[in-house]
């Protein structure tokens, strides 16, 4: 009984951790899908949403939680669209590495804007987090907090919504066409600018949601807060297969299980090396299945 309980509890922990990674990874893969761009600034969009919410609360306008969340997500979306217009559109069609470096520069740019104007000191996010999220449920011997349930629910809902979007709507189908072959999509009369902006808007909005939920879970925000979730989402997306939404989510849950497993089975003296093992896992997956578990093999065109 005790052992079974332990397994169920750890499974729930892994699912909640995996859901947080899944939220970040979905947005990342959205953008990667159409542009083949590894967007380093994705984590910074999370941070932008959190700081927007933080400052809205600090102004003391009593906007109400819901409108604060909407504004924060909108701001992240706008920053994402602006990013695409100013930095990524001029380098569209350049090599993968060049676009990756551009996004790296954009990331450093945004982070340091916040270091400069909002100070690098971490701030508490507790004032924004509604109290019911912090409630910890005790179901028999199982322990799970509301925030983890919310994150799990949001991740699954968003995945279903996005899968419906890319398979059932015209815009979504043109998005998949663009991701298949940008040039051919353009020749077929698809307005790829609109498709790419849409992908960025959706990706950034999801980053905003992910950022706020991440901060609510951790309890504090700082200008560099996006870096760790971004790296984890990279690993998740690579494990599952960059370029496939379902793959990214699968990768995120596998990563969640791997981390919980490592915490459970590593000797205490090695448990602080957990993230090192996570990246070792990344390198091993890249070796065995460079395109991830659900990723399709990308043919190189001569």
């Amino acid at each position: 009984m005790g052992a079974l309980n332990y397994i169920v509890q750890q499974t729930m922990n892994a699912l909640s951790l995996g859901s947080t990674y899944a939220l970040v990874a979905i947005g990342l893969v959205m953008v990667f899908g159409v542009l083949r761009l590894v967007n380093f600034a994705h984590g910074d969009l999370m941070m932008v949403a959190c700081y927007t919410a933080f400052f809205l609360v600090a102004t003391g306008l009593h906007l109400g939680l819901f409108s604060i969340l909407i504004i924060a997500i909108l701001v992240a979306t706008l920053v994402g669209i602006l990013m695409e217009r100013v930095a990524y559109r001029p380098v569209r069609g350049a090599s993968n590495i060049i676009t990756l470096l551009t996004s790296l520069a954009v990331s450093i740019f945004i982070e340091n804007i916040f270091v400069m104007f909002a100070s690098p000191v971490p701030r508490s996010f507790r004032s924004i987090t509604p109290l019911f999220l912090n409630i910890v449920n005790h179901w028999g011997t199982l322990v799970v907090s509301n925030i983890n349930l919310v994150i799990f629910g949001v991740a699954i809902l968003l995945l279903i919504f996005l899968l419906l979007f890319v398979t059932r709507t015209k815009l979504g189908i043109s998005m998949r066409a663009t991701s298949e072959d940008l040039m051919a999509a353009q020749l077929a009369g698809i307005n790829i600018d609109r498709v790419i902006v849409t992908a960025f808007a959706i990706g950034s909005a999801i980053a905003g949601v992910a950022g706020i939920l991440w901060a609510a879970r951790i309890g504090r925000i700082d200008p560099l807060m996006g870096f760790t979730p971004l790296l984890k989402a990279f690993v998740a997306a690579v494990i599952g297969g960059f370029g496939s939404l379902a793959g990214a989510v699968l990768g995120a849950y596998l990563l969640g299980f791997a981390e919980i497993f490592l915490i459970g089975f590593l000797p205490p003296s090695l448990s602080s090396y957990r993230d090192a093992f996570v990246f070792l896992l990344l390198i091993i997956v890249l070796l065995v299945r460079p395109n991830g578990i659900l990723g399709s093999i990308e043919r190189e065109k001569v």
Partner: protein, 349 residues
């Protein structure tokens, strides 16, 4: 036959030019530094950055596989060489739980640098073997993963590294002379590799991997050589940096440093040694100026913002960097300046 000789002679002259320009540069900086200790520090920093960026260029510019993890090799070099050169007394206070064979020995600067470089080269060989098969985004993300692993190990391996705390008490061995000699070695080694048959294979693979493979060029071997040598030189650069700063922490060798070296590399031009020398000089001086400005107006983060914006602008408007794949041909420049007409004639024949 004379054609081949002429070509190799031309190549040799371009090497001499490179070494000469770097020497003149370092001499100029040394003269400035004689009067002012601050300028001397800047000169040494310029020199170390030249070594690091030329080493990075060997891997990232000439092979087409883009590593974001070279600062990890730098960290290995810095920590390894510093642990080796610490005096026995400093070791007993700063790193009390070192194994006995390490605690009671003290190495000279050169052997410490060479051991540090060899260790990094060995690790590069181990991780390079799998990584060199990947391409594009995947190498970048995987090498970033390597950097994170190194960072986590440095923070947690307190017995050797003092963890996240500052590693201090390192003797300031690094002088402009040490840096200068390593610049010459670095440029010579990188130049030799790029102009060897390995180098030609590298360029072929970089420009068109499929065509190169069709012609029977082995991608793995040439890339691995470039990666390992580049790791060795990066570690030496890290060792020089450690014995210049005298105190540092794992955060010194992490994401910010990675970004700075990549900016220099891109601004100077991927695949150009003279571009790296020029880029390292310009960007280091600029960063130093910006940092002073930033401190005087208390707007921390400004220098990073300007560098990031500069990188985006350079990528958009000068996608090949300031120099591109070419090398600066100084003699040609001089000739063009004085006798433009005759030069053109001789080329036409």
């Amino acid at each position: 036959m004379s054609n081949i000789n002429q070509k190799s002679l031309k190549n040799f002259i371009s090497l001499l030019e490179l070494l000469g320009i770097s020497s003149i540069l370092m001499l100029a900086l040394a003269v400035l530094g004689l009067k002012n200790p601050y300028l001397m520090r800047v000169a040494i920093l310029v020199g170390i950055n030249i070594i690091l960026v030329v080493a990075l260029n060997l891997s990232n510019g000439f092979t087409g596989i883009f590593s974001l993890g070279h600062v990890g090799f730098m960290a290995i070099g810095a920590y390894t060489s510093s642990i080796l050169t610490l005096t026995v007394a400093t070791k007993s206070t700063n790193l009390p739980s070192l194994p006995i064979w390490l605690a009671h020995t003290q190495f000279g600067f050169l052997p410490a640098l060479l051991i540090a470089g060899s260790l990094a080269a060995l690790i590069a060989l181990l991780i390079g073997f799998p990584l060199m098969r990947l391409s594009g985004n995947y190498v970048a993300v995987a090498t970033l993963g390597f950097l994170v692993i190194i960072h986590i190990v440095l923070i947690n391996w307190e017995q050797f590294t003092r963890g996240a705390r500052t590693f201090s008490g390192v003797i300031q061995y690094t002088t402009l002379w040490w840096v200068y000699i390593w610049i010459l070695i670095t440029i010579y080694v990188v130049w030799r590799i790029v102009h060897s048959h390995y180098g030609r294979a590298l360029l072929a693979v970089r420009d068109d991997p499929i065509a190169a493979q069709t012609m029977g060029v082995s991608i793995l071997r040439s890339r691995l050589l470039a990666f390992v040598v580049s790791a060795f030189l990066s570690a030496v650069g890290g060792g020089l940096m450690a014995h210049f700063l005298t105190s540092f922490s794992p955060a010194t060798f992490y994401f910010t440093a990675t970004f700075n070296y990549i900016i220099i590399l891109i601004i100077g031009g991927l695949g150009s040694i003279s571009g790296s020398v020029l880029g390292a000089t310009l960007v280091t001086l600029l960063t130093e100026l910006l940092r002073n400005f930033e401190q005087s107006i208390r707007l921390y983060g400004l220098s990073q913002i300007i560098l990031a914006a500069a990188l985006v602008l350079i990528i958009i408007f000068y996608p090949k960097g300031l120099i591109g794949y070419r090398e600066i041909n100084w003699l040609q420049l001089l000739k063009l300046g004085s006798t433009k007409g005759t030069n053109n004639n001789s080329e036409r024949r």
